[in-house]
Amino acid sequence: MLARSKRLAKVSVCAVIVAFLQNACSRETDNAITSINSTSDTNTAAEISNEDRKDLPSDPHIIERGRRLFSSCGVCHSVNTSLPSSAGPHLQGVLGRTVGSVQGFPYTSVLMQQNGVWSVARLDQFIKNPREIYPGTSMAFGGIADESDRRAIIAYLASLDTD
């Protein structure tokens, strides 16, 4: 129990440091999330990741807020591939990942049939209202109405990739 809490603390400290460094060398933007159509399904994962990430907040406080808000998601989703949850696919490296592609995870056919990549815009729409973008998803989540909360969560997830 304690070990797990320490690990969480370590992850968040790393995330904060990385985010802080990013902040120092990149322009802090607070753009509204771009439309889902702006990141075409044909773009490569790497293109989507790079294009998207630069618009995400990198303020360590926002990322820390994202980490806290993520505890709602954390009941079903792990951010650690070696400690998977049975209820949802792990979210380590989710930005740029093909939708419905974690090996061995029993997705419903709706997500299995998708070919897109998880861009910031797509993730944002999914977290806002999962069943609007993918009707039939089994994600048992009503959605987060507050846009800044969603951005903080996505920024937190993005920060894990650079950990």
């Binding site: 809490s5 954390g74 049975s86 209820a87 048992a140």
Partner: protein, 481 residues
């Protein structure tokens, strides 16, 4: 990127290959036809029984039927087993986001715990440092725990005063026929007929709202009193059975998994049942991706509010359809919260229409702060996914609470439950048998169909045993003939 088809059979071999970490995460079991120590009745590779839903009712039915030698497949829409129980992690702790409390007065679930070697984990409900009652208008009263206990217990005793005469045989709830005459009395009507003070009404209404999952003017009075009768007509035992004991080592989800593992049935996750055709001598079930699964019989264990999402090609009886359309209403949810400050061992009842009906300390220390669990009868009164809304609500009870982490689970927005625990609307208690009744080759289980603890895990297990017995007898007859 390669996509694994979710139709790839994730059988025991893959299960072993994918390693312990994945094994812990992905709940899968092997096929009955690999089962060497059971007398599988025929070798034609077809399934005898398809069970829809891998909650307690489905898992129990699978185990019972496989033990009799029938070949069983369980189709589960979610990526995990357990249904309305879900053991998860919050800040490194085991938490129960759905059904959680169990007790030795609940005979079916207690027997399952005994069978698979599970014990009880205690929640600090007694020896409170502080107790509160929030009135309907949001005013919070800080009441000494002894006064709280005294007031609540006497109110509860009054509410359930007739339970012995109404339910002399709680497992045969309509044994006393006068019960039919009380069918139209709501919990609110009965509550207000008693001689209770403001705090007693507020605390009892909070408790009843939890069971109703709705305003208690809609809630069947007698259905609640039946639950009290099942707890040996005793208030202390009732409270102890509903709020004090969880399942240890892996919790409710691990117990469901143990039952399923024992069944050795084929379990398919992510398998959303969409259409059902009863051909008279077989049943075919169409999944959302178009695949057909066929068996001699089928057992449905769905939450009542989910039935309308499935197309029963030959329809369901009008009585069953009426139950599905009207009988249930639970708008409930759970949320765990952590505050940095140590609030001590506290309990709070909040009267309707405040969203958190019961807020209970689960853990407290100067090092951890406080882990609180709130249970909501009416989640639609608050946006549980708004951290700020949750923090504001908690601060009404604990003004100094420094909330840092939350873990909600909203069962109503979950497409595979659409409701929380079963609860009967006033006028519908006596109709639960309509829901339980077999129709053709289709059998029906699920906690809402239980004679006993229908709002509980225990009721789900009871119903799984009953439906499995019915399906077994039917198949014995047709295979003999």
């Amino acid at each position: 990127m390669h996509k694994l088809s979710n139709r790839d059979p994730l059988d025991r071999r893959l299960f072993l290959k994918t390693g312990a970490a994945t094994a812990a995460g992905l709940a899968l079991t092997s096929c009955a036809d690999e089962n060497p120590d059971r007398n599988v009745r025929d070798k034609d590779n077809g399934y005898h029984v398809v069970i829809v839903g891998a909650g307690f009712a489905g898992a129990t039915a699978a185990r019972e039927l496989a033990a009799k030698g029938w070949r069983v497949i369980v189709l589960e829409a979610r990526p995990r087993v357990g249904g309305r129980v879900f053991t998860s992690q919050f800040l490194g702790r085991q938490i129960e986001l759905g059904g959680s409390s169990v007790h030795w007065v609940q005979p079916h679930v207690f027997a399952e715990m005994q069978r698979y070697g599970f014990g009880f984990a205690e929640v600090p409900l007694y020896d409170l440092d502080a107790s509160y009652i929030m009135l309907g208008d949001g005013t919070v009263k800080n009441i000494a725990p002894s006064t709280f206990d005294e007031k609540y217990t006497s109110a509860f005793n009054k509410f359930c005063a007739d339970s012995r005469s109404l339910f002399p045989k709680p497992y045969d709830p309509f044994f006393n026929e006068t019960l039919h005459k009380l069918e139209s009395i709501s919990a609110e009507e009965h509550l207000l007929s008693l001689d209770l003070d403001e705090l007693q009404i507020a605390s009892l209404r909070a408790e009843l709202t939890l069971y109703a999952g709705a305003p208690i003017s809609e809630f069947s009075y007698t259905s609640f009193v039946k639950l009290f009768a099942l707890a040996s007509w005793d208030t202390f035992t009732f409270t102890d059975s509903e709020k004090h004991w969880h399942i240890d080592s892996g919790g409710t989800s691990a117990l469901v998994q143990a039952i399923l593992d024992d069944s050795r049935a084929t379990v398919r996750l992510g398998a959303v049942v969409q259409e059902v055709t009863d051909h008279g001598d077989s049943v075919s079930i169409k999944l959302s991706d178009g695949e057909l699964v066929t068996a001699s019989t089928a057992i449905f264990t769905l939450p009542t509010k989910v039935y309308p999402d499935i197309n029963f090609k030959s329809g369901l009886s009008k009585e069953k359809q009426a139950f599905i359309d009207n009988a249930e209403m639970s708008d409930g949810a759970n949320i765990y919260m952590r505050t940095t400050n140590n609030l001590g061992n506290t309990f709070c009842f909040c009267d309707d229409p405040n969203p958190f009906n019961a807020v209970q300390t689960e853990e407290f220390s100067d090092e951890t702060g406080t882990i609180l669990k709130a249970t909501l009868g009416r989640q639609s009164l608050i946006d549980l996914n708004s951290f700020d809304a949750v923090a504001a609500e908690l601060r009404k009870i604990h003004p100094n609470a420094e909330l840092t982490d939350v873990a909600p689970y909203n069962w109503v927005t979950d497409p595979y439950s659409k409701q929380a625990w079963p609860s009967y609307r006033v006028g519908w208690f006596s109709k639960y048998k309509d829901m339980a009744k077999p129709e053709g080759q289709l059998f029906f289980a699920g906690a809402a169909t239980a004679d006993g603890w229908h709002e509980y895990i225990d009721g789900a297990v009871e119903s799984g045993i009953r439906a499995a017995r019915e399906a077994h007898l039917r198949m014995e007859k047709s295979y003999a003939g």
